[in-house]
């Protein structure tokens, strides 16, 4: 059974802006409409529309930027309301949750009665929800959009008449390339899910990507591939005693990040991946707040940290919006992997993202052990590993990352760096102040047009004056920090036969590198 809150990002944005849900509002992501309220849709605003187009259709449209954290935070009271009815809920994403309805339906006297209970419970939080019931998760999510109940065993018949574009309806159940797939199927003349399901699985497998195979199974209403339930070693749980107890959101977010890293270290040590995670927060007085998150792809440390943050933020700020707030600061946090899968059973496509990236790098175990010992001697930041980075100057083309952190270059190395210094790069870096002088002993600067104010003849470094045998440049380069200031580099060859790279920034020369 799926519980769907329509246009959740728009609803969340409206409630933060203090508007009612009937106001026309649209949530923008990268300049296109990601979600919009019913009122906006009535005027013709659609998902994927450009901002300008949406505004021309609906002049009093309220715009808001996409903010996943806001969506997650505001969805928390809704989840609380549903868990009061059915204790076992799984959140697919903010705005959509699924409930295993079989036992609860028997308790409440039928699926319709249960659906009513859930809709009423959600309505108390001031949110409109619709419920769909079906055998399979995907079918239930589709049915929820029209509030239908699909009788048991008729999933395939229900799906057969649905348009093919339904495959892209739910982003959490589709791969990144699903849109292209639907487009292709449409051009192939397959207009309904039924037509797609009639293709033989072997043909789909041999002609399309792994995501298409998943889509084909969904369209046929086949049981979803259940993650193989590996028994969970008890040692996977991560527990943290907060001292001092936390009652501030930023502290909670910081802690969530730490715990997530910790959990993933343990998981990877046990060579498991987590697809369902329960986060428990326990206050000083023993109040407990638990939430289960489910993901189609195994949770990454970042995704885990995000979910912990959403939950804690939602709970800590719940009191302000009439929800339930903790009665005292949070004293204990627990991350409990509910469902772990053996990563070996996860099928990664050979194409595109999803290929597991190599975790290890060129440093073997022996080297790592030695480096970690040095970290123990000098602190974690002392040992760093270089990453190729983007940049114009010699010092910017390699950025150093502390050993154990994620290897992320500061700037994109593959971007175009048009004013990049030509090779060879100087072997030694330096940050010595210098003065460039002309024949009369006046300081030489660089003009706005990228030329020397006079021909340089000498360079003063510290106290000593060096005569130039050769000079070249200046080569101006842009900098994002000061787009209007003049910055340039120049090469000079001193009489004592060392060649230097000089850099001119903010009307000061520095020696940036030594060619030797």
């Amino acid at each position: 059974m799926a519980v769907w809150c329509p246009d959740w990002p728009a609803v969340a944005a409206a409630s933060t802006a203090g508007l009612t849900a009937t106001a026309p509002i649209a949530v923008l992501e990268a300049g296109t409409v990601q979600a919009c309220s019913r009122a906006a849709r009535a005027t013709g605003v659609r998902r994927g529309m450009r901002k300008r187009q949406a505004q021309s259709l609906c002049p009093d449209l309220v715009l808001s930027d996409a903010d996943p954290a806001r969506d997650g935070r505001l969805f928390d009271p809704v989840v609380t309301a549903v868990t009061d009815v059915v204790p076992l809920t799984e959140v697919l994403r903010p705005g959509l949750l699924v409930v295993t309805a079989d036992r609860a339906a028997r308790y409440f006297g039928g699926e319709d009665a249960l659906a009513e209970q859930i809709v009423d419970a959600v309505a108390t939080t001031g949110v409109v929800a619709s419920v769909g019931t079906a055998d399979e998760l995907f079918t239930a999510v589709l049915a929820a959009r029209s509030g239908q109940t699909v009788p048991p065993g008729t999933d395939a018949a229900y799906l057969a008449t649905r348009p093919i574009s339904d495959l892209t309806v739910e982003s959490t159940l589709s791969g990144p390339e699903r849109g292209n797939l639907v487009d292709l199927l449409w051009r192939l003349g397959l207009r309904t899910l039924g037509a797609f399901a009639e293709l033989s699985a072997a043909d789909v497998t041999s002609r399309f990507t792994a995501d298409a195979v998943t889509a084909h199974r969904l369209a046929a209403g086949m049981p979803g591939r259940r993650p193989s339930r590996a028994p969970i070693p008890a040692a996977l749980e991560v527990e943290y005693e907060c001292d001092p107890p936390i009652d501030r959101i930023d502290a909670a977010a910081f802690l969530g990040r730490r715990l997530a890293d910790d959990l993933h270290r343990r998981l990877s040590a046990a060579s498991l991946a987590c697809t369902r995670l329960t986060v428990h927060a326990i206050t000083e007085r023993g109040q407990r707040h638990s939430r289960t998150w489910r993901c189609a792809e195994p949770l990454t440390p970042e995704a885990t940290a995000d979910r912990v943050r959403w939950q804690l933020e939602g709970w800590l700020t719940g009191g302000a919006r009439g929800g339930s707030a903790p009665d005292s600061p949070i004293a204990r946090l627990q991350l409990e992997p509910v469902e772990v899968v053996d990563p070996g059973t996860l099928q990664y496509a050979f194409v595109g993202a999803g290929l597991p990236t190599a975790v290890g790098d060129g440093l073997g175990d022996r080297a790592r052990r030695a480096l970690v010992r040095v970290q123990g001697l000098l602190g974690g930041e002392a040992v760093r590993v270089p990453v190729r980075s983007g940049g114009r100057g010699p010092a910017e083309q390699v950025s150093l990352v502390a050993l154990g952190d994620e290897l992320v270059a500061e700037r994109d190395p593959d971007a175009a760096w048009p004013d990049r210094l030509a090779r060879p790069s100087p072997a030694l870096l330096s940050h010595t102040d210098a003065e460039v002088l002309d024949a009369d002993g006046r300081l030489v600067a660089v003009t706005l047009r990228g030329a020397f104010t006079a021909e340089p003849t000498d360079v003063r470094i510290g106290r000593s004056l060096h005569r130039l045998r050769w000079w070249a440049g200046p080569w101006p380069f842009g900098s994002a920090a000061q787009p209007l200031a003049v910055s340039a580099r120049a090469q000079v060859l001193l009489e004592d036969s060392r060649a230097l790279l000089l850099c001119y920034r903010e009307e000061e020369w520095t020696v940036e590198g030594v060619y030797e």
Binding site: G362, V385, R388, R423, S425, W471, G473, A499
Partner: protein, 243 residues
């Protein structure tokens, strides 16, 4: 030698591919200078003079799969090493080794194939000279773990091999004329003196292919090649840059 043989067998049993060779590779053009065609594992090597030479050694070693750690060398430009084809994923950097850089270098010798020791302590302070006793301890540690210690800009007591290098002349592309062109490479004189062998020397050129621009692929394209007319190895034709 029997010990070599045993060491090789041990290494092949432990599956460490790098330890099977008894030398760390140096740039191809420089192999004739070294008594064993490379830096012997388990020894201490000192290098004085032009930084490009140790840089090329780091590049050649990491490219062949050895790991390298740079201690107290904040001024070393790793972008230049990358252009020479260094594999940065096998490099670790300790820019500020604190008060006792020798201790740090000793710990690293346990697990890293090539430990490069500079003289910077960070914050503009330099370390003092090493005492002969400390030098002996470090040499013993390198020998025991069959890793190599490369000391830069320091007369290290008891170094098995000394490399002295000096920049001779700069090459300008397209030609040396003030205000035009840029530096396209330079020549270095390298002299290697090993204990118990005659010193050998050679002249090399650092050349940048084409115009020194374009993407860096697996091999950065910069390399030290033997200079024309060098006595060590017959020279190879070099691409002259036409502008």
């Amino acid at each position: 030698m029997e010990i070599e043989e045993l060491r090789r067998r041990l290494a092949s049993m432990s599956g460490d591919a790098m330890a099977e060779t008894s030398t760390l590779p140096v740039p191809e053009a420089m192999t004739p200078l070294f008594p064993r065609g490379g830096l012997s594992r388990g020894t201490v090597v000192s290098s004085v003079g032009a930084t490009t030479v140790p840089m090329a050694i780091i590049a050649a070693a990491t490219r062949s799969g050895a790991t390298a750690a740079l201690v107290g060398l904040p001024r070393l430009n790793l972008a230049a090493a990358m252009d020479m084809g260094a594999d940065l994923s096998r490099v670790a950097v300790v820019t500020e080794p604190g008060v006792d850089p020798f201790e740090v270098a000793g710990v690293l010798l346990d697990g890293i194939d090539l430990v490069v020791l500079g003289s910077d302590l960070g914050h503009g302070r330099l370390r003092g000279p090493v005492t002969p006793s400390r030098a002996r301890v470090l040499a013993g540690r390198a020998r025991k773990q069959s890793s190599t210690l490369l000391v830069l800009d320091d007369d290290w007591p008891g170094a098995a091999v000394r490399i002295e290098s000096e920049v001779t002349d700069y090459r300008h592309v397209p030609a040396r004329r003030s205000g035009y062109g840029r530096i396209g490479g330079f020549g270095v004189d390298v002299q290697v003196s090993a204990s118990g062998a005659r010193p050998s020397s050679g002249r090399f050129d650092l050349v940048a292919p084409a115009m020194g621009e374009g993407p860096v692929d697996g091999h950065g394209g910069l390399e030290l090649v033997a200079a024309a007319g060098s006595a060590v190895v017959p020279s190879r034709p070099r691409l002259a840059v036409a502008n």
